[in-house]
């Protein structure tokens, strides 16, 4: 059932392209940081699934709070004259790559295990 999230992503993209959001250009920056945060959360969720430490509530609350707080912090940073925007980009970017690296590792090791333990070998 791994394709369900992918399917969800495609459906979401379709919905997003059908419903045209008119986000003012001045808020595009905060929007981009929110997207980065949500990307991080989504991959974090995938990682948690692979780690078997998945919790749905944590994922959903993390998704929403991360997204909103990232945008809000970036906004606040702009108001205060501090580039919190960069901090968010850095933090989420690093975590995103870590998550991706973990996912890659995990999938790789799983497939390698499958490959090594031929069918017939009882586990």
């Amino acid at each position: 059932m791994w394709f369900l999230p992918l399917f969800g992503l495609i459906i979401g993209a379709l919905i997003g392209s059908i419903i045209t959001f008119e986000i003012p250009v001045t808020y595009a920056k905060y929007m981009s940081i929110a997207v980065l945060a949500s990307l991080d959360s989504a991959f974090g969720g995938v990682k948690a699934v692979l780690e078997d430490t998945f919790d749905g509530t944590i994922l959903l609350t993390g998704f929403f709070t991360n997204t909103l707080i990232a945008a809000l912090l970036a906004f606040l940073g702009d108001k205060l004259g501090v580039d919190l925007y960069l901090a968010a980009v850095f933090a989420f970017g690093v975590r995103l790559f870590q998550n991706l690296a973990f996912i890659r590792h995990c999938l790789l090791s799983k497939t390698l295990k499958k490959y090594n333990h031929k069918p017939g070998d009882s586990k």
Partner: protein, 231 residues
């Protein structure tokens, strides 16, 4: 393994939301990129070039259109001129046709009752007046125009001259507008009409006048058959 069952729904929800956010962000970013301040310098230069070219084109078009407008305006003025000319022409034609009352200097010829004159003498006098440059003539207040007929009519006892089939009564007064001297000379040429009439003992009185009034034609014919030929 219970967790494994549960993970699909939240992750799917998250991914749907992620998809929405991503596409929204893509659209926004596209708009941001199409913003002028985000354009590359080279693109901007090309844009400026194109726009200035277009501007030059449009300016050319504007000037050509303005020229056209001026032409139309002047042609409109021409039209007004034409109308004015036509109106003056119309007035002239009204004078020529005798449909308008006219005044001006001219010659007045009075022929009294005792003069032995025939209708042909009036025709001659009038022809002579036209030839001498008369612009309008009337015979006893009957305006002479192209439809005027001068003839005579007889009863048992007498014969009288008719103008437009109406009898002329003495004294007959002919008024002609034109240069008085020329008109007089036209009539008093040696061997001319005055001499001719004098042979028969008729002596019309010529009188130059600075201001004569000649009435308009009383009835103008209504044209029903005659049509101009278009060539």
């Amino acid at each position: 393994m219970n967790n494994k069952k549960n993970w699909q729904l939240p992750i799917t929800i998250v991914f749907i939301l992620l998809g929405i956010l991503l596409s929204a962000q893509l659209q926004t970013q596209n708009r941001v990129l199409s913003d002028l301040s985000m354009q590359k310098t080279e693109d901007l230069i090309v844009m400026v070039k194109n726009l200035s070219e277009k501007r030059v084109e449009l300016e050319n078009e504007l000037t050509s259109v303005e020229i056209k407008l001026n032409q139309l305006r002047t042609s409109n003025a021409d039209e007004e001129n034409i109308i004015k000319n036509l109106q003056t022409e119309l007035k002239e034609f009204a004078i020529i046709n005798g449909t308008e009352k006219v005044t001006g200097p001219g010659l007045k010829i009075t022929i009294d009752k005792d003069s032995p004159v025939l209708y042909i003498d009036f025709v001659n006098i009038i022809n002579e007046l036209w030839a001498a440059g008369a612009e309008a003539i009337c015979l006893n207040d009957v305006r002479i125009n192209i439809y005027t007929s001068i003839y005579y009519s007889e009863t048992e006892s007498s014969m009288y001259i008719t103008v437009n089939n109406k009898p002329l009564t003495f004294p007959i007064i002919i008024k002609a507008i034109g240069n008085p001297n020329t008109l007089e000379k036209g009539l008093t040429l040696p061997g001319g009409i005055m001499d001719n009439l004098a042979l028969f003992g008729a002596y019309p009185v010529l009188e130059k006048s600075e201001k004569l009034v000649i009435p308009a034609v009383k009835e103008t014919p209504v044209l029903t058959e005659a049509k101009p030929v278009i060539e």
